[in-house]
């Protein structure tokens, strides 16, 4: 049973079975959060910034090939590796269980990005720019980050703050669905569900409870206690075993792992620790591994 430190804990479930890989969430995220467009030259140097990206996990051998799309965003870890290593408290844990990033405080040591198992922290190597009409479309609620600082998915903290403050003004609790991050809003397949994990009546809690048997925490071997829960595809048992989204090697599928000198996506670069440590499916029998909503 996960312990929540504050009164509120925001969380998300991502149903990998529903994700079509359309990248609407990626575009919505860029538009909402003023993520800089680095341009072709910088992109060729490997400095593309995406707070949310779609990872493609291939399995099977031809002709029985299957692809899973894994939307990868900040997991808002309960025990975040990025927070403990920041020398100036620019990466901090907020009272409602988010991994905050204080842009003013960040001095750009980049140690948090090295230490993030999910590689979701993005660094501003250049001054932020946008192509011609786009600079007029910036979201006024979100800071434009300067050169030299780290940024990452915030669960659309500006929407969370607005929702909680509205509720406070009206002297009520935040109702479920009042706060919706841009990615969740844009998802046509409704693969993403966002809400309060601390509210047992919220959609995310109910969705999680219903699908507990196929829930997966990514890179659980680092004990980061993520608040984003992935729901693996619920097909017949054989593909289920080989899906193992991110952070787990599929045992029967060594076809594309022969050449060790090649760089690999983290899906394959991380080992599969045997006992219950890694991204193991959480079943009713082992409820202790993953997050559980609390009323």
């Amino acid at each position: 049973m996960q312990e929540f430190h504050g009164e509120l804990q925001w969380g998300m479930t991502i149903d990998v079975d529903k994700c079509t890989g359309c990248k609407a969430c990626v575009v919505a995220c860029r538009a909402e959060n003023n993520v800089a467009v680095v341009g072709a030259e910088q992109a060729a140097m490997g400095r593309i910034m995406d707070w949310l990206r779609i990872e493609r996990i291939h399995h099977g051998t031809y002709p029985h090939v299957h692809v899973d799309f894994i939307p990868m965003l900040c997991q808002q870890c309960g025990a975040a590796p990025c927070e403990s290593v920041c020398p100036v408290f620019a990466a901090v844990h907020t009272h409602d269980g988010l991994n905050g990033q204080v842009y003013n405080r960040c001095i750009g040591t980049r140690v948090c990005a090295n230490n993030c198992p999910y590689h979701v922290r993005m660094f501003n190597f250049t001054y932020p720019t946008w192509p011609e009409p786009m600079e007029k479309l910036l979201n006024p609620d979100v800071t434009v980050r300067n050169e030299g600082i780290m940024e990452k998915c915030t669960f659309c903290v500006q929407r969370i703050r607005r929702g909680t403050l509205d509720a406070k003004v009206e002297k009520r609790e935040v109702y479920d669905g009042e706060v919706r991050p841009a990615c969740e809003q844009a998802c046509a397949a409704e693969a993403l569900t966002f809400g309060l994990l601390t509210d047992s009546e919220s959609a995310v809690s109910k969705h999680y409870d219903r699908n507990k048997f196929r829930s997966v925490l990514l890179h659980n071997e680092h004990d980061t206690r993520p608040n984003v829960v992935y729901l693996r595809p619920d097909r017949d048992p054989a593909p289920l075993e080989s899906v193992t989204p991110l952070g787990n090697k599929s045992h029967g599928d060594h076809g594309h792992q022969e050449n060790h000198s090649e760089m690999k996506p983290s899906a394959e670069a991380t080992p599969a620790p045997e006992p219950a440590a890694s991204a193991t499916p959480v079943t009713e029998a082992t409820p202790a591994v993953t997050a559980s909503p609390r009323g």
Partner: protein, 462 residues
């Protein structure tokens, strides 16, 4: 350089001759040092221009990109920290061990620390995305009551490096005060004024000597734990992170021994340059000194090799998946040639060469070997930092290898200019060899002619 016998550990000339040799370069300029200083000045100027450009245009002037967040600056930081460890080892450790031959090399080592440690310490700041805000890492009072994060290993780094810098400067200065005091009456012009100020009215009374001896012994004891902690903490910058290839238990001792190894190599480089520039020093720095320090170097090389192979042989036998990727990438990946140069230049070649006494006693081969070892040690630091980050890559579309940009090369070259130029300038102004220690060793060495065979022994210093 005539003595073969290892018992002759003092200089090979009388005490007044030692004085003349040690203080001969002071206040004089020669064409050799002028050329060195000019080149170093240009390098520093280039680095200043490059750093201004980086401040203006941002950290994007480097070759860093999204999986490889740390690069050349951190590599060179670790390299300079390693070189800076020469001072502590040779001064403090040999002083505590009572090795009489140390006096020829102690100050060279300490001065290397004096100049390379600021060069090292500048890199974590240059590497910051927003260098102008580096003071956020210092525990300064502010109206928001914000403290730095003492849980972060980068904070420990700040305190460790600054403590080591303070300690080594004090150590160097305290042991230099007698020399300045002794030499003051025989100096001329502004150097006499400088020595007068810095020697704090040294008269050479028994009480003053007692205090200097006690201070040197005390600093030796205090600085050793500092030295060990400094480089261990530098290794923890890597070892405490989740990156495969970084997350290694052996990194603490490996970094420490590697630092001493490369630091000793730097001392040999410096000694070679000194003997080339000031041939008068050959009477003072003898074959025996080279031989003894060469043995220390050999031992450190063996220790380094032991720890280095311990880093990956167990992982290789266990076929640890992360580490296997890392090893294959190192040994057979894009950097394979550099990797094998590292193994040969750092392990096979030095350990073979240093096993021979004739090699240890010859200046030029030791100079060349010290350069090779330090290049290989630099490559070792490249292998510590870069491949782990390139392999630990969650962005499956982003496989661009890291290369140094022109800005990085200019700034790194500038720190070489700073260190070498600083050392050259120091040699012109201050005694680079500790006169009083050399004289003391000479005075304590008793030479006896035993039926035609000359032997030497040392009287107790007490």
């Amino acid at each position: 350089m005539s003595h073969e016998n290892l018992n002759f550990r003092a200089a090979e000339c009388s005490i007044p001759e030692i004085f003349d040799a040690v203080f001969e370069p002071i206040g004089k300029s020669g064409w050799k040092s002028n050329i060195v200083l000019t080149i170093c000045g240009l390098l520093i100027l280039g680095a200043a221009i490059a750093f201004s450009g980086q401040l203006y245009y941002g950290i994007g002037q480097t070759g860093l990109h999204i999986p490889v967040y740390w690069g050349g600056y951190i590599i060179t930081f670790v390299f300079w920290i390693g070189v800076a460890h020469a001072g502590a080892l040779i001064s403090a450790l040999l002083r505590l061990c009572g090795a009489e031959w140390k006096s020829a090399v102690t100050r060279v080592a300490e001065v290397i620390t004096l100049f390379t440690l600021p060069a090292a310490g500048s890199f974590p700041l240059i590497h910051l995305g927003r260098t102008e805000l580096f003071y956020y890492m210092l525990p300064l009072p502010n109206n928001r009551l914000l403290w730095p994060n003492f849980k972060s290993m980068l904070m420990w780094d700040v305190f460790a490096v600054s403590t080591y810098l303070t300690g080594s400067v004090l150590f160097l200065y305290v042991t230099m005060v007698p020399d300045l005091g002794i030499a003051r009456p025989r100096m001329k012009g502004w150097i006499k004024t400088l020595y007068t100020i810095l020697s704090w009215g040294w008269r050479g009374t028994a009480e003053e000597w007692k205090r200097v001896m006690e201070a040197a012994a005390l600093y030796s004891v205090i600085i050793l734990p500092v030295v060990i902690s400094v480089h261990t903490i530098v290794s923890w910058d890597f070892a405490m992170q989740v990156v495969p290839g970084w997350h290694s238990e052996v990194f603490g001792p490996l970094f420490f021994v590697g630092a001493l190894y490369s630091g000793t190599a730097a001392v040999f480089t410096m000694l070679g340059l000194l003997l080339w520039t000031y041939p008068g020093f050959k009477k003072v720095i003898t074959q025996v000194h080279y031989d003894m320090l060469g043995r220390v170097w050999l031992v450190l090389g063996l220790a380094w090799a032991y720890l280095f192979f311990n880093d990956f042989v167990p992982a290789y036998y266990a076929h640890e998946p992360d580490k296997m990727d890392y090893l294959y990438y190192n040994g057979f990946g894009p950097y394979a040639a550099a990797c094998w140069f590292l193994v040969i230049g750092n392990f096979a070649l030095p350990l073979f060469c240093l096993a021979f006494q004739e090699f240890r006693r010859s200046i030029m081969p030791m100079f060349v070997l010290s350069i090779i070892v330090n290049i290989a040690m630099y490559i070792e630091r490249v292998f510590i930092v870069i491949p782990g980050l390139e392999i630990y890559n969650g962005l499956n579309f982003n496989t661009i290898p890291y290369t140094y940009s022109a800005t990085e090369i200019a700034i790194i070259a500038g720190t070489f200019g700073w260190s070498i130029g600083g050392l050259t300038l120091f040699c012109r102004i201050f005694p680079i060899l500790p006169y009083w220690e050399l004289a003391e060793t000479k005075a304590r060495q008793v030479e006896v002619d035993m039926a035609g065979v000359k032997v030497a022994y040392f009287q107790s210093g007490e």
